[in-house]
C-alpha cells in the first residue's frame, strides 16, 4: 500500500522525491495514475500529490505568452478565452482528452508524463513550440516538450524531477495552430492517429514557418520537419499539400493493434496532417 504526501512547495516536493527510497509517483489529475494503481500495473511506495503547491493549477499571461500550471485541468484550459484565441490547437487537443468528468481533473503534465504515444495534447504542444519547466534536485530548467517522452510509458525525467509548468510562446502575427485526431467514433476514444500543425504566414499568405507533429504512429509523438518543409514558402496549394501528406506518411513507424493497422495508420496520418494544416492555415489567414 503506498503512502501519500501533499507537499506545499516545489522545493519540498523535490526533496521528498530525492529522498524517496522506493518508487514515487507524482499525482496530478490522477485520471491515468488511479487506473494504473487499481489495475496493479504500477505499485508505488509513495504518491506525491502536487496540487497543494500554489500556482500548480492555473493559467498566467505574460506579454502575450502563457504559463500553464502542470496540474491545470483540461476544463480550465478550455475556459481560458485568451488561450483559445492564441493557441486554439493546443486547447482543442487538451479538451479531446476523455469525458467531461476526465476534463475536470486531467492535466497537461499527466498527459505528457503518462507517455502514451496517443496522448492528444502532446503533438499540439510540440507544434506550438511549448516548453516545460522541470524542477529537480539540481534546480529548474526549461526544456522542449518533445524532450520528455522517450517511449511508451517512459520519460527522460529523473526520479527527483517533475514538471511544474508549461510555457507557450507569444503567438506571432498571422499564425495559428490546429489539432485533429482520427477515432472511429465522435467522442470518448483514444487517437488512432493524431496530427498537430502550427503555421505562420506572410502578408501574401505563404508559410514562413511551420511545425507538423504526428501522434500514435511511433513510440512517441514525432516532429516531422520534412512535412513542415513542404509548406514553407508555399500557400497551401495542392502541390504543397500533396508533399506534406507524403512526408507525413514517410515519417510513420506505427504498430498494428486493435485500433488500427500499420497500413491504415500510415495512410490516415497523411490525411490528418493535411486536414490539420488546412485548418491552421485558414485560422492564420483570419488574423
Amino acid at each position: 500500500m503506498p503512502s501519500y504526501i501533499a507537499p506545499s512547495t516545489v522545493e519540498e516536493a523535490v526533496r521528498i522525491l530525492a529522498e524517496a527510497s522506493g518508487i514515487a509517483k507524482i499525482l496530478s489529475g490522477g485520471t491515468d495514475l488511479l487506473v494504473q494503481l487499481r489495475s496493479g500495473r504500477i505499485k508505488p511506495d509513495l504518491i506525491v500529490d502536487i496540487k497543494k503547491i500554489p500556482g500548480i493549477s492555473g493559467i498566467r499571461q505574460r506579454d502575450g505568452a502563457f504559463a500553464i500550471g502542470a496540474a491545470t485541468p483540461g476544463a480550465l484550459i478550455g475556459e481560458c478565452e485568451a488561450l483559445r484565441q492564441a493557441w486554439p490547437g493546443v486547447v482543442e487537443a487538451a479538451n479531446l482528452i476523455g469525458s467531461t468528468q476526465v476534463q475536470g481533473r486531467a492535466s497537461l503534465a499527466g498527459n505528457l508524463c503518462n507517455a502514451s504515444p496517443a496522448a492528444d495534447s502532446v503533438p499540439a504542444l510540440i507544434a506550438a513550440r511549448a516548453t516545460c519547466v522541470v524542477a529537480g534536485a539540481n534546480g529548474r530548467c526549461e526544456v522542449p516538450v518533445e524532450s520528455i517522452a522517450t517511449g511508451p510509458g517512459r520519460t527522460s525525467l529523473r526520479a527527483d524531477e517533475f514538471i511544474i509548468e508549461f510555457h507557450l510562446p507569444k503567438r506571432p502575427p498571422h499564425s495559428a495552430d490546429a489539432y485533429l485526431r482520427f477515432i472511429p467514433r465522435t467522442e470518448m476514444d483514444i487517437a488512432v492517429v493524431g496530427a498537430g500543425v502550427a503555421v505562420t504566414l506572410d502578408s501574401g499568405g505563404a508559410c514562413t514557418d511551420a511545425r507538423v507533429v504526428l501522434g500514435a504512429v511511433a513510440p512517441t509523438a514525432i516532429l516531422v520537419p520534412e512535412a513542415a518543409a513542404a509548406l514553407i514558402g508555399h500557400t497551401l496549394d495542392e502541390t504543397a499539400l500533396a508533399a506534406l501528406q507524403q512526408a507525413a506518411r514517410r515519417a510513420c513507424k506505427p504498430i498494428d493493434d486493435k485500433r488500427g493497422t500499420i497500413e491504415f495508420r500510415t495512410k490516415v496520418a497523411g490525411v490528418m496532417a493535411r486536414r490539420a494544416a488546412v485548418i491552421a492555415y485558414e485560422r492564420a489567414g483570419e488574423r
Binding site: I47, D49, S99
Partner: protein, 158 residues
C-alpha cells in the same frame, strides 16, 4: 499504515473522515459515509456512474483519492432533493421515464446538474456531448436528453 484525517464539505455539511491513502473518494462515500447514491461501475473513469462535483466541477469519484478531497466541497446525488421535494432534474427523469435499471441515474443527474449550473440553456448537441462520459445501457439516451432539456426549461421559468 496510518490513516489520513480529511476535512471536507459534502452537500453543504462539514464532514470529516479517516481513510487509508489508496482509497478512492467513491470508496469512502459509499463504505465510510454510507452515501450509496454514487455507483461503482467500471472503476476506471469510463462509465460515469460515480460522478460527483468537486468545487462545482464534474469528476469521477473513482478517479480521485479520498485524501485529495481535503479542503474541497463535494456534491453528490444525495444533495439534490430538498427533503421530500425532488430536484426538477429528478422529477423530469421520472416524468420522461429517463431510466430503467437506474444504475447510471445518479451519475447522469449530477452530470446534468453540473451542465445546467454553468449553461442554463444547452442545446441538444451540447447536452449529448456533455454526458458522453455517462454510459447508459437501457434508455438509448433519448429520454435522458429530453428530461434534461425539459428540466432546464423549467429551471429557466419557461
Amino acid at each position: 499504515m496510518s490513516k489520513h484525517h480529511v476535512s471536507t464539505t459534502i452537500n453543504g455539511e462539514p464532514t470529516e473522515f479517516l481513510c487509508e491513502p489508496q482509497l478512492t473518494l467513491l470508496d469512502v462515500l459509499r463504505d465510510e459515509l454510507h452515501l450509496t447514491g454514487s455507483k461503482e461501475g467500471c472503476s476506471s473513469g469510463d462509465c460515469g456512474a460515480c460522478s460527483v462535483m468537486v468545487d462545482g466541477r464534474l469528476v469521477c469519484s473513482c478517479l480521485m483519492l479520498a485524501v485529495e478531497a481535503e479542503g474541497h466541497a463535494i456534491e453528490t446525488v444525495e444533495g439534490l432533493a430538498r427533503g421530500h421535494d425532488l430536484h426538477p432534474l429528478q422529477r423530469k427523469f421520472l416524468e420522461h421515464a429517463a431510466l430503467q435499471c437506474g444504475f447510471c441515474t445518479p451519475g447522469l443527474l449530477i452530470a446534468a446538474k453540473a451542465l445546467l449550473d454553468r449553461n442554463p440553456k444547452p442545446t441538444e448537441a451540447e447536452t449529448r456531448y456533455w454526458i458522453a462520459g455517462n454510459l447508459c445501457r437501457c434508455t438509448g439516451y433519448d429520454k435522458v436528453i429530453r428530461a434534461i432539456l425539459d428540466a432546464a426549461a423549467e429551471l429557466r421559468g419557461e
